[in-house]
Symmetry: C2
Subunit: 288 residues, 2 copies
């Protein structure tokens, strides 16, 4: 047992899978669930994702509280918890951006920000809701923690131990560095996929195009099936790093465009080869 | 039996799978293979992809010749075939662009362009070579034919029958329309994936980025594992339509950028929702 009681705010794929994994590992005795939607909470309970629904005051009495919400809702959630927060309770989150979450924690929690451990599990799916939760979602996946300077070492150690009990590999990064990295490898690709599909979706003759789209298109655009609420929040929360990545990407596309325009086959071949090789090296490292 | 002898120029994934499928279907008696690389031809023969290697003169005596080559090599291949081309032989290709192939056929074949049936199987994989060939590659896949005005009806019917015997669904499009559609749903996504990976690959600290790339990145960039030779040729052959799509895509990205910059969450949500819905509708149509 790592903690006696865990509260998950948001009992969908991310929070629900965390709860299921920890129950299965025997790392927690009781799981409380907080959420706005009673039907969803009832489903989470029915599926064994949580033991019982709770309000903010009850959740704040848990030993550990996980916020598994769109990042834009972090500040409001912390405000709800703070007045009731048990001494020594650890608060963590699962948001895809970290600098804004850190700022919200400092602004809302004051001295209690020492009990806050920002986190980001690198796992997900386009599926959502309690029904999508799986005990093995985090198996072999990375979780990045970005502790604040003032975060208590034992609070960080508790959150690390919970994620490890859920099967994840835990790493630590600075929040700003985290956000720069994920702007490039996750947030930009999501926006790029949304933009490509939307460009087609807005055409009067879109059906003709979609009719001939095949497996390459399906994989390229898979992430355009992700939650609009969640990705709106991420884009706004990681605005600066994302703007820099969007600019770099448009530059890269303009370089390709110039090569196509100039019929410069050699330049195209160089770019395509470099990209393919980099991706192959990456895949090899993933496997090892 | 639809034709007695088939010659495939290029015995890799596309040509080899066509040959295997037709042999398995009993649609062809003998398959000849043409290629520059003797080791590859020997492997194709060993794997039963072709019955024997042939030179251009022998291949031109087949009842049907399939060119399964990077599109930039179409013109040179037609020049090799023409002097030996058997009266009544049907020539087809599997190139991903069609207008330039049509122009090459008219320029090289003269009156014999009536025997040419341009084609494009919508199937593939990053894998290549005779070892990647599979008899079922085209099962349930679309093949687009773009016959010339002068193409003999019976030549087009033969090529259609062969693809149907290979398990494909055959459709007919105008070559220019084909190229506009595939610029949007295939060629642009490939360039977009290459550009994104290359942008990371050129950074001094690329390892830090790749280290945290996950499944969304893997799927988004899968097509950046494709052949640089093939995609250089496609980008050059479909230059005009591709330039128009690149411009439209950069516009779509700039629209997203402006919304992020202005912190316009509503605009982002609208775009993400429209894209997700369009993709979901597309997937439903694919399944039905």
């Amino acid at each position: 047992m790592i903690v006696d009681t865990l509260a998950v705010v948001g009992t969908g794929l991310i929070g629900g899978s965390f709860a299921l994994a920890l129950k299965q590992a025997g790392a927690v005795r009781e799981v409380l669930g907080v959420g706005r939607n009673p039907a969803r909470l009832a489903l989470a309970r029915e599926l064994g994702v949580i033991d019982r629904a709770a309000d903010w005051a009850e959740a704040a009495q848990a030993d550990c509280v996980l916020l598994a919400l769109p990042v834009g809702e972090t500040e409001a959630a912390l405000k709800q918890l703070l007045p009731h927060l048990k001494p020594g309770a650890v608060v963590t989150d699962a948001g895809s951006t970290k600098a804004e979450v850190v700022a919200a924690a400092r602004a809302v929690l004051g001295a209690r920000s020492a009990d806050f451990v920002p986190g980001h599990p690198i796992a997900g799916s386009e599926r959502s809701g309690p029904g999508a939760a799986r005990a093995d979602l985090y198996h072999g996946k990375r979780v990045v923690l970005t502790p604040l300077a003032e975060t208590r070492a034992d609070a960080a150690a508790t959150v690390r131990a919970l994620w490890e009990a859920a099967g994840a590999e835990v790493e630590t990064l600075d929040a700003a560095q985290h956000d720069r990295i994920f702007a490039a490898v996750s947030h930009l690709p999501h926006l790029a996929a949304f933009a490509l599909v939307d460009d087609l979706a807005q055409r009067a003759d879109r059906d003709t195009f979609f009719r001939f789209a095949a497996s390459g298109f399906r994989d390229f655009t898979r992430i355009a099936g992700s939650s609009p609420d969640m990705w709106r929040d991420i884009a706004l929360a990681n605005r600066e790093a994302l703007l820099a990545e969007l600019d770099a990407y448009v530059d890269a596309l303009q370089t390709l465009r110039a090569a196509v325009d100039a019929r410069d086959g050699q330049a195209l071949h160089t770019i395509f080869s470099r990209a393919r090789e980099a991706r192959e090296n990456w895949l090899k490292q993933q496997d090892s």
